[in-house]
């Protein structure tokens, strides 16, 4: 796979159908990784696997690992990722290191029997343990909070870079506490796995800028009727970074509840590139056909990492297949094949992105 040039910026989106991860090259071999996912076939951690293939050493080149929220589909492999990126600061919502959440996560992990299938809570617990054991820097996301400035890139690559978190808002934090309160294991309750609920109150949206060039990463942030939450509070903020993003990681797998006309009108450039990953879980499949139509209408070009319908069953010996049929079970792959959308840009004035699609990724 072609290595990135020092004067190129890159945004890569990995998505197997359940989970996603964004890898950003800031310039001069400086990288940021947002969330984590695994290849469903190899179970390797997609961003680390990618770095290995293009000759990047994550232990020295990754500046930040950002966990946008704690849902299972965004944290798979996160603890291994954080450990591999030994010099990176860890970024999360402050709520994830506060008493209520740490107590909840610890109660789940210390109190329950272990299972092979793991869980997002376990990933976060392992991350918290690693961070406290190693004393690594933790940075907290908040509205319009500058979490990284790289002026040194100006001399080496010709531009500086800044990363700003746009959420979660105070109101979203309040709502998150309510959710945590209902999930904390109590005496006498039957042991179970934590099940994160929507909406994604803590989702961290990110603005990454290189001079006038910017991208917007929507995480799983949802729009709500409450103007103190979701995208409304971001768009209305006078303090938010100004400009129009030329690439937009579509929030919440393209679902309607992640859509905001105001975001497209005020924060995204006309003709911008849209990137998204699908979500499949039970009968929920995102994006829907309506979602795709809406995104294609708004974006200049839109790409998705995988085809959510593409989930053939695993091939098994005839006798096993017969037994499954006898049971009446219907099986399919939990996730489609991992896909990768890569946009690279040499910071030219026309902000043209060069697109490469691999795995199951395709143009909408």
């Amino acid at each position: 796979m072609k290595r990135v040039r020092p004067d190129e910026i890159e945004i890569s989106l990995f998505g197997p159908g359940y989970g996603e991860s964004v890898v950003i090259h800031l310039g001069v071999n400086q990288w940021v990784i947002v969330d984590s996912c695994r290849d469903p076939i190899t179970r390797s951690i997609a961003p680390l696997d990618y770095h290995a293939r293009i000759g990047v050493d994550p232990s020295v080149s990754v500046r930040l690992v950002i966990a946008t929220h704690w849902h299972d589909d965004h944290v798979r492999g996160l603890s291994d990722l954080v450990e591999a990126c030994t010099t990176a600061d860890f970024v999360c919502a402050s709520a994830l290191t506060k008493s209520e959440f740490v107590t909840m996560v610890t109660r789940y992990e210390e109190g329950s029997a272990k299972t092979p299938s793991g869980s997002g809570v376990r990933e976060l617990y392992q991350v918290l343990r690693h961070l406290t054991r190693t004393g690594r820097q933790v940075r907290f996301a908040a509205p319009n909070w500058l979490i990284l400035r790289c002026p040194e890139l100006s001399q080496a690559a010709g531009w500086g870079c800044e990363i700003t978190t746009l959420s979660p808002s105070d109101k979203q934090l309040e709502m998150f506490w309510a959710e945590v309160g209902s999930q904390v294991p109590e005496i006498g309750h039957t042991v179970r796995r934590a099940v994160a609920k929507s909406p994604n109150h803590l989702a961290i949206a990110l603005w990454v800028s290189w001079g006038e060039q910017a991208i917007l990463l929507g995480s799983d942030l949802e729009e709500t009727a409450d103007t103190n939450t979701g995208w409304s509070v971001i768009v209305q903020s006078a303090e938010r970074p100004q400009g129009a993003a030329t690439a937009f990681k579509i929030p919440h797998h393209g679902s309607e509840n992640g859509h905001s006309d105001d975001v497209w009108d005020q924060m995204v450039a006309k003709g911008a590139y849209a990137l998204l990953s699908p979500f499949t879980n039970g009968n929920v499949r995102l994006p829907t056909n309506d979602d795709v139509s809406r995104i294609v209408d708004r974006a200049g070009k839109a790409y998705i990492t995988a085809r959510p319908q593409s989930r053939a069953p695993v091939e098994r010996p005839a006798i096993v297949a017969r037994a499954i049929r006898a049971h009446g079970g219907r099986l399919r792959l939990a996730e489609p094949k991992l896909g990768h959308i890569r946009l690279r840009n040499r910071h030219d004035p026309k902000h043209r992105w060069y697109v490469a699609l691999t795995g199951g990724a395709y143009k909408l």
Partner: protein
């Protein structure tokens, strides 16, 4: 002997519930667990394990008969006869039935018994094992661990991890009609189960495809569990308290 040693090593926690019944332990782990329920009259009543691969499934009837495990011919199974034999030996060491913990005997007192007393206190009377060779036997072909992700009317969806081969995770839809009455209340989002498919070998040699879904019976969080967890949480929080955060001067200088 291994099986009994294992039973002891898992330290059965027996809670006394309604009169006459010593109810339910345990840690419910897949592999090393034994769930044994002693009921009145000193007999071992039903448990479970539900035929998990390495698990003991002990069933006794009202008769002082050890009705043998099951195991369903899982590959790593503890042999039923070995189990019966060990239990038989243990039963020979066992004090008279009336000395076993009674309903009136406080749980704490029960737990204060010497180890060998604990070992035998809940064992069934010695009895010959039933000949299992005449029973249908289950030969497992494929196993998954499932986590319930969604529940609808009389159906649920689960994410499945293949425990037999290194396949990618799968998703399956199941009808709750296939779940035993005892397990129905366990079908909630986040619940964990094991699904085994295989063939049932009949005594006459016929084979019939079959499958079994058994939900993992998880224990309840106890005060001790949560206190221990909270102690760990406190350590983590103390460590976070000493970390540099964006509120610290150094972090603020990056803004």
């Amino acid at each position: 002997m291994n099986s009994l040693v294992s039973i002891n090593s898992t330290a059965l926690h027996l809670n006394s519930s309604d009169p006459g019944t010593l109810n339910q332990p345990v840690r419910h782990g897949w592999s090393e667990n034994f769930l044994v329920t002693a009921s009145h009259h000193g007999t071992l009543k039903q448990p479970i394990g539900h035929g998990w691969s390495e698990n003991l499934l002990l069933t006794t009837s009202n008769q002082p008969t050890l009705m043998q495990p099951i195991g369903h011919e899982w590959s790593e199974n503890i042999l039923p006869f070995a189990v019966a034999d060990e239990l038989h030996k243990a039963a020979l060491m066992r004090p008279p039935l009336e000395t076993a913990p009674s309903v009136d005997r406080p749980f704490a007192e029960t737990m204060n018994l010497l180890p060998h007393q604990q070992q035998v206190a809940f064992l069934p009377p010695a009895a010959p094992a039933v000949d299992v060779s005449k029973r249908p036997s289950f030969v497992g072909l494929q196993e998954w661990e499932g986590v319930v992700t969604e529940i609808r009317d009389r159906a649920f969806t689960a994410r499945l991890m293949d425990l037999t081969h290194p396949n990618p995770d799968e998703e399956g839809e199941f009808c709750t009609d296939e779940i035993s009455e005892d397990d129905l209340n366990l079908v909630v989002p986040g619940a964990i189960f094991r699904w085994s498919v295989g063939v049932l070998k009949m005594p006459g040699g016929a084979k019939r495809p079959t499958s079994q879904i058994v939900f993992r019976r998880l224990p309840q969080w106890t005060k001790r569990d949560l206190e221990r967890a909270d102690g760990v949480a406190k350590e983590l929080l103390n460590a976070f308290g000493t970390m540099k955060t964006p509120d610290s001067d150094e972090a603020r200088s990056t803004r």
